[in-house]
């Protein structure tokens, strides 16, 4: 019997080149060009890095600073009697305020994944959010509602970490040596380019992710991930994940309007 011989790079390359020989249809380039001309680029006025000219860059920065000041001032006024009374927040990350949803969200069911619920529960009333910049420079917001009272922080990481996610998949894994740290990853048609709501059940064993997305949007089908830190161990094997895709948002209607009932 022959010993199994390891394939070499030239062998694999030669076979792949042979298998992929031949170019695309002659009209593919023209089809792409036509598609480009009928497709608008996605501009994000809040992000400061991409302005084409120095003047535009300064204006963008000024807008960002002004927006940040207004937002900060508003938060001070609104939250002075609430959040600040509870003492200084955890410096690591936003600390969600546990509170029940007034609409009474659906109770989680067994199984690692679930089909979209018929009436997705909005995360109205959520006072905390995690924002992060994806590797592609996209600002993503996750509004967290923690009903367990055990969430002490969160860090949003990079997308694209699940090896082969299925739509509606939610995966869990504890951080190495940290049973109270929980990595949550999910995939949805919205990719990571959307606003998400995240709801943690009272027993901290079910996490429901609410995704909304623009109809005809341009999300890249990546997957998303966030690291949550709890005050006590949350075994990944006991976790149930639900992914609820809210209905597509029509032009002129913001995702917040859909979820903010």
């Amino acid at each position: 019997m022959n010993e199994q011989r390891h394939l070499t790079h030239p062998e694999i390359r030669r076979a792949l080149l042979a298998a992929t020989a031949g170019g695309p249809s002659p009209d593919l380039q023209a089809r792409i060009a036509a598609g480009v001309r009928s497709t608008r680029q996605r501009r994000r006025p809040i992000l400061p890095a991409w302005p084409a000219s120095p003047t535009a860059g300064r204006l963008a920065w000024a807008a960002v600073v002004a927006l940040a000041l207004v937002t900060f001032g508003g938060l001070l006024v609104i939250g002075a009697g609430g959040l600040l009374d509870r003492g200084a927040p955890d410096p690591v990350s936003p600390v969600p305020v546990p509170q029940a949803s007034p609409s009474g969200g659906p109770e989680p069911s067994d199984g690692a994944t679930a089909s979209p619920a018929p009436t997705p529960t909005p995360v109205a009333g959520s006072a905390s959010g995690i924002q992060f910049m994806s590797p592609d420079g996209v600002l993503v917001t996750i509004d967290v509602e923690d009903r367990s009272g055990r969430l002490v922080g969160g860090e949003v990481g990079r997308e694209g970490l699940i090896v082969e996610p299925e739509p509606a998949d939610v995966h869990f894994a504890n951080l190495p040596g940290d049973p109270a740290g929980l990595r949550v990853e999910w995939f949805s048609p919205a990719g990571c380019k959307a606003r998400y709501g995240m709801e943690i059940s009272a027993d901290a064993r079910t996490i429901t992710i609410h995704a909304s997305y623009q109809e005809g949007g341009d999300s890249i089908g990546g997957n998303c991930g966030v690291t949550l830190r709890f005050s006590e161990p949350v075994p990944a094997g006991e976790m149930t994940g639900l992914l609820v895709n809210t209905p597509p948002v029509r032009p002129g209607q913001s995702p917040e309007a859909t979820a903010g009932e």
């Binding site: 394939l7 062998e11 792949l16 042979a18 170019g23 380039q29 792409i32 608008r40 680029q41 694209g160």
Partner: protein
Amino acid sequence: MIDDVVTDRALSGLAGEQELVARARAGDPRAFDTLVAMRLRPTFRLARAIVGDPAAAEDVTQEAFLQAWRNLPGLRDPARFDAWFGRILVNAARMHLRSRRRTMTIAIDEVDPEGATLGRSDAGIQGVGDADHLQRAFDRLGPEQRTILALHHLDERPVAEIATMLGVPVGTAKWRLHQARAALERAMESQR
């Protein structure tokens, strides 16, 4: 438009591509046309290696370029266009495979009834038949394994760059590449 493309091709090399990316990012479709022209064949080839079917590879290629065009203003550093676009392409291929898997079932063990008649030379993969043999083994791999093998052996991207594209640590990418090669060798063996 063709003349513009030809003119733009004079912007050869990396700096030229970055210039094109910057212009396309600012909304210049002709600069993007040139990028497409420069990258069409290798993009199609990689897509075909991942998804297999030429028609599907065209769809994936087109989708990847259009996604790139739409999202280009969000690319902060034109120097990262290559890895950024590669990531878009891989994701588009994954999405396609996912949708295909939902609508079609392939009995892997029945894919190659003639495969057993194709021998493999002890001297390595040399003839067309051997290449076919290897390609059939490649087709039996999962999309993630095909993707990482194609990125490394067809696109000849270094592991560190693949890790960036896939959003995994370098060690993980190395391990996945090793596993994919081993799976390919096992698939070859099973056809003998």
